[in-house]
């Protein structure tokens, strides 16, 4: 049975130049579709991917990723904004890798486009009034 899952992969600095995704495809028959790639403030690689493969292969592939030191985070976790705490300063907008946080040029309010959010969590600690919360 084939499975398709969306996950966030965090590559520590030491792994950024390793051919991990290539091996995942070649040795574990897993197709991957990159939805987003960026380098986080901590200088790790961040990939949001859709992985597709046979259930057995998928399990082995995930095991391989974890063994290599890649941190997996299911996209089922969620980032929400506490509207009472957001001051609309804008400190988050340059850090968000997917432009899910953007300034409305007319009102100068910071809009949170939830559909674009990949729940990477970068905004959570960078938000000065701590308005962004991660939910599992």
């Amino acid at each position: 049975m084939a499975v398709t899952k969306r996950v966030v992969l965090h590559f520590p600095r030491s792994l950024v130049d390793q051919p991990i995704m290539c091996r995942l495809a070649r040795e574990f028959n897993i197709d991957f579709n990159i939805l987003k790639a960026s380098v986080t403030p901590k200088e790790e690689g961040l990939l949001v991917v859709e992985l597709t493969g046979e259930s057995k292969d998928y399990k082995l592939g995930v095991k391989y990723l974890e063994k290599s030191g890649v941190q997996l985070q299911p996209l089922s976790q969620d980032v929400i904004r506490n509207e009472n705490r957001c001051t609309h300063c804008g400190a988050c907008v340059v850090l968000c890798p997917t432009e899910a946080l953007i300034v409305d040029p007319a009102t100068r309010k910071v809009n949170f486009v939830h559909e674009k959010c990949i729940a990477c969590g970068i905004c959570v600690t960078a938000c000065p009034p701590r308005a962004m919360e991660i939910r599992f």
């Binding site: 340059v94 309010k109 910071v110 600690t125 701590r130």
Partner: protein, 401 residues
């Protein structure tokens, strides 16, 4: 023309005063010209809402039975140490204080989730706060320990007293190094990854009165959602900073010390703030009314973001080492466009000061004045100006023999 503050207050009392925000006045002057606008407009309201570390509150806790001399002892509020080097039950709660067991930057970058600024916000929100104090006994103050809850409504005085707020202009921060840095200007990504700035620009109080013609000691203001006053010029007040032809400083210049009764302020306008990797602080809302006493004063309030410039500074090397170099100057209009060019690279911009909230402050102040709830005060002393020879001094080490 010219008007007096007494005449403007008379108009306020009669509900006839014409009050506009520092944003609205720009369009009015463009349409009608300075002369006509100065005749029509009585008051221009300004606003700013940003992290201001030099903030804190004097609290008088009240006397216990038996009495306790917390002054000279040690005390914490919600585990955040307060300054006790004053009288028996007076303490000063500073915005950047943090619990002794906070790991700081040992787990770099530290998150600084709760500090003095957060205690101030919680106090103002009416929450109970844990007071723990220890001290030595005296004949008149025998008690040595206390652990109790206090609440803003039960203590005697709570006076917000911020030694330096409302900076007239500020640095624009970038990072030229090859690693992310965590600063009081926010997270700065490596290799010019982002540009952070902090001002409400054309709405900011001291940009609208660049030579301090109306804002002085005793000026009544919006402070933290309540009423406050300018109590003095702020620390690091530097009127001698480089200025444009329009009088607006191109570098950090004037500052204000402000004071007010914390009990009538609101948590929405005094927000505990955490700068990752740097520390905790307080985001303060300030709004200052500018009485239009002359055409000159009115013309200053019409300043626009495109006429206000600030220096771009590298926070990886130049700022920490106190070097003088700047990477150029840009206007706040350019910064607000979302990206600027630095060293040939297009870089996205972010603000730490909320323009949206600053607009709300200017509008709230306008509403208070329109309703007759807020009258203007005459300054009782001027802030040091450009002719007064006040400069910003560095601290240069001297060997202790």
């Amino acid at each position: 023309m010219p008007k007096t503050i007494a005449e403007i207050n008379e108009n306020i009392r009669k509900g006839k005063a014409v009050v506009v925000t520092a944003e609205e006045v720009i369009g009015i002057v463009e349409k009608k010209g300075v002369e006509k606008a100065a005749k029509e407009v009585d008051v221009v309201t300004t606003g700013t809402f940003g992290p201001m570390c030099s903030s804190g509150a004097f609290l008088n806790l009240g006397h216990t039975a038996p009495r306790m001399k917390i002054g000279g002892g040690k005390a914490t509020l919600n585990d955040v140490p307060v300054y006790t080097g004053i009288a028996a039950v007076d303490v000063y709660l500073g915005a950047t204080a943090m619990p002794d067991d906070d790991p700081r930057n040992k787990n770099y970058p530290g998150s600084f989730d709760y500090g003095g600024g957060h205690v101030i916000e919680d106090l103002v929100a009416g929450k109970d706060i844990k007071l723990v104090a220890t001290t030595y006994g005296t004949d008149c103050y025998p008690r040595k320990k206390i652990e109790t809850l206090i609440n803003l409504k039960d203590i005697n005085e709570a006076t917000l007293f911020n030694p330096r707020n409302a900076y007239q202009n500020y640095n624009i921060a970038v990072n030229l190094s090859d690693k992310t840095i965590y600063t009081y200007m926010g997270v700065l990504k490596r290799n010019l990854g982002n540009v952070n700035y902090s001002t409400s620009g054309q709405l900011s109080p001291l940009f609208n009165d660049p030579y301090y013609l109306t804002i002085g000691v005793g000026t009544k203001i919006f402070l933290g959602g309540g009423i406050g006053y300018v109590s003095w010029y702020g620390t690091q007040h530097n009127p001698s900073a480089l200025r444009s032809d329009n009088g607006v400083p191109r570098r950090g210049a004037g500052t204000l010390a402000v004071i007010g009764d914390l009990k009538q302020m609101k948590p929405e306008w005094l927000v505990g703030t955490s700068m990752v990797g740097y520390g905790s602080t307080l985001t303060v809302g300030i709004g200052i009314p500018i009485p239009v006493l002359s055409e000159e004063i009115l013309s200053y309030t019409a300043v626009k973001d495109e006429d206000i410039f600030a220096p771009i500074i590298d926070y990886s090397e130049v700022y920490p080492q106190r070097k003088p170099d700047i990477l150029g100057e840009v206007s706040y209009a350019e910064l607000k466009s979302g990206k600027i060019e630095v060293m040939g690279k297009e870089v996205p911009t972010a603000s730490l000061s909320s323009y949206y909230k600053a607009t709300q402050i200017a509008n709230t102040l306008k509403e208070w004045i329109n309703k007759g709830d807020f009258q203007l005060t005459e300054a009782v002393a001027s802030l040091p100006g450009t002719e007064d020879g006040v400069n910003l001094k560095p601290l240069n080490d001297r060997p202790i023999e």
